[in-house]
């Protein structure tokens, strides 16, 4: 194996940045925001797997598995909420929902 961990980390960082950019830029569409979050989570998983192979320990992989389980529950709840909100307002624009205004 000749892939340096460092390059894996750079890839993960770039992926993370793209996910972040997606989440921030797509304020008009909550689905795209969620997609951005998925991208970021994948970047994290990449980091964990890279570390796991660097030190030969299974913990990183296990953690990424947990992360996947966590993501699936998060996505199911989030999408259920999107459906719920869309039913109420006929909109997926996050700027339409500001009932938490201080």
């Amino acid at each position: 194996m000749t892939i340096p961990l460092f390059h894996v980390l750079i890839l993960a960082a770039l992926l993370f940045a793209m996910g972040l950019a997606c989440t921030i830029a797509w304020r008009a569409n909550v689905i795209m925001m969620l997609i951005g979050i998925e991208i970021m989570l994948n970047a994290v998983m990449l980091t964990l797997v890279g570390g796991s192979s660097q030190w030969g320990m299974a913990d990183g992989q296990i953690f990424s598995l947990m992360l996947m389980a966590l993501t699936s529950s998060e996505v199911s709840l989030a999408l259920a909420m999107v459906v719920y909100l869309h039913r109420r307002r006929q909109s997926v624009d996050t700027d339409d929902f500001n009932s938490m205004k201080g």
Binding site: T2, F6, I10, A21, A28, I31, I39, I62, S76, L77
Partner: protein, 161 residues
């Protein structure tokens, strides 16, 4: 050989993601993303995590992305002309942030000299499973509970009143 493969796959992942986040249609974004996740799964495999690679394909590319597609179709969001897509102005803060992050990473990278992995330890499925169920038994239980709760919550939110 493996290294070349890694760089090609990394390129695919980045390009796929880039298209995904700039796509005007959500459905297209999902398809780009599935593509990118396949490449990512291969990277996982290259990094010696076959199990995670398999789950990536099954759960992410298979289940989660399909869930997204379901919702998009259910809510009838597949019409780009009815959707607001981000204007150029909206990308500015995102780009600034990305630049800051990238610059920081670049700074950190400049001080660090790439060292190839000394000796690769492939992690067998047996080792993985032993660790998972022996050391992290409680965590497995907790995660299963969490999935159950998510299920109940999603049903509660989704039912029609």
């Amino acid at each position: 050989m493996e290294a070349t493969l890694f760089y090609i796959l990394a390129l695919v992942t980045l390009v796929g993601t880039g298209f995904a986040i700039t796509a005007r249609q959500a459905v297209r974004a999902i398809v780009y993303l599935v593509n990118s996740f396949f490449a990512l799964a291969l990277i996982f495999y290259l990094l010696g995590a076959p199990l995670v690679a398999a789950f990536e394909v099954i759960i992410y590319a298979g289940a989660i992305m399909v869930l997204f597609l379901f919702v998009i179709m259910m809510l009838d969001l597949g019409h780009p002309e009815r959707m607001k897509s981000p204007r150029l102005v909206d990308w500015i803060p995102a780009l600034v942030l990305v630049l800051v992050t990238a610059a920081s990473v670049g700074v950190l990278a400049a001080q660090h000299h790439a060292q190839p992995l000394a000796a690769f330890h492939g992690i067998s499925v047996r080792q993985f499973s032993q660790t998972l169920f022996q050391r992290y038994g409680v965590a497995v239980e907790l995660v299963s509970l969490q999935l159950l709760f998510a299920l109940v919550g999603a049903i509660y939110l989704g039912r029609r009143r």
